[in-house]
Amino acid sequence: MDFNLNEETVLMKDSAQRFLQKKCPSSLVRELIKDEVGYSKDIWKEMTELGWLGFIHKEKYGGFDGSFFDLFILFEQIGRVLLPSPFLCSTVLSGLIIDEAGNEKQKDEYLRPIIEGEKIFTTALLDENGRYDANDPKIEAAKTRDNAYVVNGTRLLVPYAHVADGIIVCANVKDSKAGGSTLFINERNADGQEKTPLDTMSVEKSFAVDFKNVKLPAESIVGAPGKGERYLSKILPKATILKCGEMLGGMERVVEMTVEYVKQRHQFDRPLGSLQVIQHYCADMATDLESARLITCQAASLLSENIPCEKEISMAKAWCNEAYRKATWTAQQVHGGMGFTEEYDLHLFYKHAKASELAFESSWFHRSKVADAMGI
């Protein structure tokens, strides 16, 4: 057991933190949330130059073969400033899916430009009720006589669909031989994709995407037909833990902001933080945060070492979901009216906590996975 970050990680963490603090003040986050594009192309370019987009990707596709744990620490830093960007959906989720399931041609054509920041990809995995349905997708891909596929259906909460060069969708191929859950790449220029922006609690731009008779060539299939869910189940755990990293970073800021506030703010002629009830609120937040840090770092570290850790991942997400949300509730309560204004940053984290809780499955779902892993 070693609870210290190693030296390299500390260096990376510090420089990422400095970069993000400088480049992404909360004023920018506010702007980007309202902005139509929804992320900063300048920062995106710099992220590419810093090698972030290729961090854990293989060298042969332009990546850096970095450690997954370090990427997790990077997401923690992103969470501290709530930088909106397609980092998670493009380079991580889509990139890893293509790396896992794609053929060499797809890797050259898509993965390399994703890593180089030239293409942005996203994934569309939630059905019309917002539920993940890769094991039996409600979106259909009908095979045509000319060996193409016609996709019909709706996907919700697709991040950055409007700027995506490709959308990876998991559709149900109706085919007696090799049908079922199958991954497709929808290129931007494919006809029939209708994208409706959604106003959500997330800092990411999010869309409803209607697929209306979108015709895709057979080459747009990623991996083997029928195995879509299997590929996703290898990649989603990684995305889940990176999301936990982001939540951890957000939670850290919430605790910092609150502790700072109660030290300065006076009520009843004394610092708020000298009231025992406020002290216990803060102690509870700090304990929840420390717990989140340990349980999440554990999963990230095991993942990084390729040690099986499904249960640890689910423990982490279940815990972060509730701990982060509770932290923002307590923070709001302690801040009083001030915390409930747009000009103060807290509401950004309040929203981020709920949006993150809802992403990559609920606490209930993950507790149920923990129970599975326990054999009950």
């Binding site: 539920r131 909460l157 959604l198 959500t200 009083g336 009216g337 747009e342 309040y350």
Partner: protein, 394 residues
């Protein structure tokens, strides 16, 4: 003990309910769910005034209907379940009226009460209590009201003033005694102030839900005639504290999020039929049952508080209990609803993809205000401990 309503009460509830159904059908308003203060519609308030539903529980001699607080709670319960647009008269009815009846001069009563009860033009009130450094501790207000002949000159700043940008009149707490030796809570006075008086600047604050509901209000040599001083000079803090219980009695603290709760129940009813896993449905069912128990308890706490007032007693501890309990419950409703509905619950104001016709996401964003406005949960628990249980001051 009796936990049922009289036949007259049941009939009255039905009358209110039918009226609201009619208005909803007619499209006068639609049910939404934001923060505490329901939308403003003088037209709607006029309809209520016609029916005698404003000043409903004020004594008859003061332009009221002399009805009990329990009756008034029945009225409010029905109004708030559908979030009727009562914002125009709500504060004046709930708070200003009772305060004037308790502490106002004859001139003040005659000037304001009949106009409030009639939903006349120009009687929308806002509260001007809190200041940047006087939130939970109101006695710390520093806005000055300095006597100058027959008037007071006001200078200072207020904050968190809901609807101050639409209100005609303000209910102001300001410092009128400046001797440091005098205890702070014996140094403030209450005033009614016309919001159009020169020197008043209202600056909007956008809240965490991205909406403009409260404001900062700046006073720069604002002149208030002496006859607008309410009650005793320097007794304003005590008067406000005495009125607070009425502010906390209301069912608005339980029903801010009722439309969401109602939709959630319907949602869970359909879950088992619509392909959700049985395990998840069972979990949702258990959660909603717990909310239902809390809702019922909250309702009893509210009616109990109203009944205590009807008995001529002070409900300080019970009102504090009720508000603390109910507002925390409302926050849980929003949270549980998002957990059950899942990722789409964060979609705001989208006719097609929002899960509910009432905006759950926005409701969740308003949540933090529930347990702050009108006394934070912590202040309320202090009241229960000190006044209710007689524990020693810390």
């Amino acid at each position: 003990m009796k936990f049922t309503f009289t036949q007259e009460q049941e009939e009255f509830r039905k009358e209110v309910h039918d009226f609201l159904e009619g208005e909803l059908r007619a499209g006068t308003f639609s049910t939404q769910s934001r923060g505490l203060v329901a939308p403003c519609s003088r037209e709607f308030s006029l309809k209520m005034a016609e029916r005698g539903w404003i000043g409903f529980s004020w004594p008859k001699e003061y332009w009221g209907k002399g009805r009990s607080y329990v009756d008034k709670m029945i009225l409010n319960e029905e109004l708030m379940k559908v979030q009727a647009p009562i914002g125009y008269h709500f504060l004046a009815d709930r708070q200003v009226g009772p305060a004037l009846i308790a502490f106002g001069s004859d001139w003040q009563r005659e000037t304001f009460l009949p106009r409030i009860a009639a939903a006349d033009e120009g009687i929308q009130f806002c509260l001007l209590f809190s200041e940047p450094n006087a939130g939970s501790d109101l006695s710390a207000v520093t806005t000055k009201a300095v006597k100058e002949g027959e008037a007071y000159i006001i200078n200072g700043q207020k904050i968190w003033n809901s609807e101050a940008h639409t209100a005609d009149l303000g209910w102001l707490l300001a410092r009128t005694h400046f001797d440091q030796a005098i205890p702070k809570h014996r140094a403030c006075s209450e005033f009614v102030v016309d919001m159009k008086t020169p020197g008043i600047t209202v600056r909007p604050i956008i809240n965490g839900a991205g909406e403009h509901s409260f404001n900062e209000v700046f006073f720069d040599n604002v002149r208030i005639e002496q006859r607008y001083l309410v009650g005793q000079e320097n007794e304003g803090f005590k008067q406000i504290m005495a009125q607070m219980d009425y502010e906390r009695t209301g069912m608005e603290r339980l029903l801010q999020t009722y439309p969401i709760y109602n939709l959630l129940i319907e949602y869970v009813k359909k879950m088992s039929k619509e392909g959700e896993s049985r395990e998840f449905y069972c979990w949702a069912r258990d959660q909603v049952a717990q909310l239902e128990i809390e809702h019922n308890i909250g309702r009893l706490l509210c009616y109990h508080t109203a009944w205590i007032i009807d008995q001529g007693k002070k409900p300080s501890s019970q009102a504090a209990m009720a508000k603390a309990f109910c507002t925390q419950h409302e926050q849980r409703v929003n949270d549980i609803a998002t957990k059950i509905v899942g990722p789409v619950s964060q979609i705001r104001e989208d006719a097609k993809w929002s899960p509910f016709p009432v905006d759950l996401a926005t409701c969740y964003l308003w949540g933090p205000s529930y347990t702050l406005q009108g006394g934070s949960t912590e202040i309320l628990k202090n009241i229960v401990a000190l006044r209710g249980l007689g524990l020693p001051r810390s």
